[in-house]
């Protein structure tokens, strides 16, 4: 997830002049970096390795298609596409983390981390909603 969000954010910083879009992109880089660091620290503590799964592979494939499409856009078209994409992405991830990951995790520390991550991503989803409304469609 960190890879998807980070790449999209760097694309936005390269292609957008809109202060709202740039602020959101910078926030995605710093917040997801913090969540990713916490997740890696916990995995190290639990002596576990991150593994690809069907969900993460599907997310990455969808993201690659979006990056190819968005890289050809500019100005308001790009901003609208980025904002809509971030909203959809966070909605999807939050649904899966809250509905499937958290209920099925047994380790207390991992469950707690996922809960904190979910509250972070939910705040991002709300932020993305405002960004979509501000930029228009």
């Amino acid at each position: 997830m960190w890879r998807v969000i980070s790449t999209s954010a760097h694309l936005a910083l390269a292609l957008s002049d809109d202060p709202k879009v740039r602020e959101f992109a910078e926030l995605m880089i710093s917040d997801h970096e913090a969540v990713n660091r916490a997740a890696l620290d916990l995995l190290k503590k639990l002596k576990a390795e991150p593994q690809d799964n069907a969900f993460s592979q599907a997310l990455l494939k969808g993201a690659r298609d979006s990056w190819t499409r968005m890289a050809k856009l500019s100005g308001k078209e790009f901003d609208q596409s980025y904002a809509a994409n971030e909203l959809a992405y966070h909605q999807t991830v939050n649904g899966v983390v809250g509905g499937a990951f958290i209920p099925n995790v047994e380790n207390g520390e991992l469950k707690s981390l996922l809960g904190s991550a979910l509250s972070t991503f939910q705040a991002h989803e709300k932020h993305a909603e405002h960004m979509v409304a501000d930029i228009g469609s």
Binding site: L27, D31, A34, V35, A38, A117, S119, H127
Partner: protein, 113 residues
Amino acid sequence: MTSSASRAGSLRCSRRSFFVACSLAPLARPALAEQATIEILQFAFAPTEAEVAVGATVTFTNLDLVPHTATGKGFDTGSLNKGESRVITFSEAGDFPYLCAFHRHMKGRILVR
């Protein structure tokens, strides 16, 4: 009889004391806190509002995974990573609304009296 009259007198007296105490109660303000702690958790400041005395110190502690700030007129904790705290001294009376500079929907307020 004497005993009941005395008891009635005593009751009247305690009722009067009760009403006097009740009417004066709003005038007797509890002392304002000289220290307060604000926790940042799940993208919210808790408590959202704090009332403190002039010269009080307020400790902001971030318990979230991501960095936050408490930024208001004349004060700024700077970026606080998870587990970090910053102490701010409020040396003037006033109303100090603040927010997180990174997540601007997160808002709080310090009332200094």
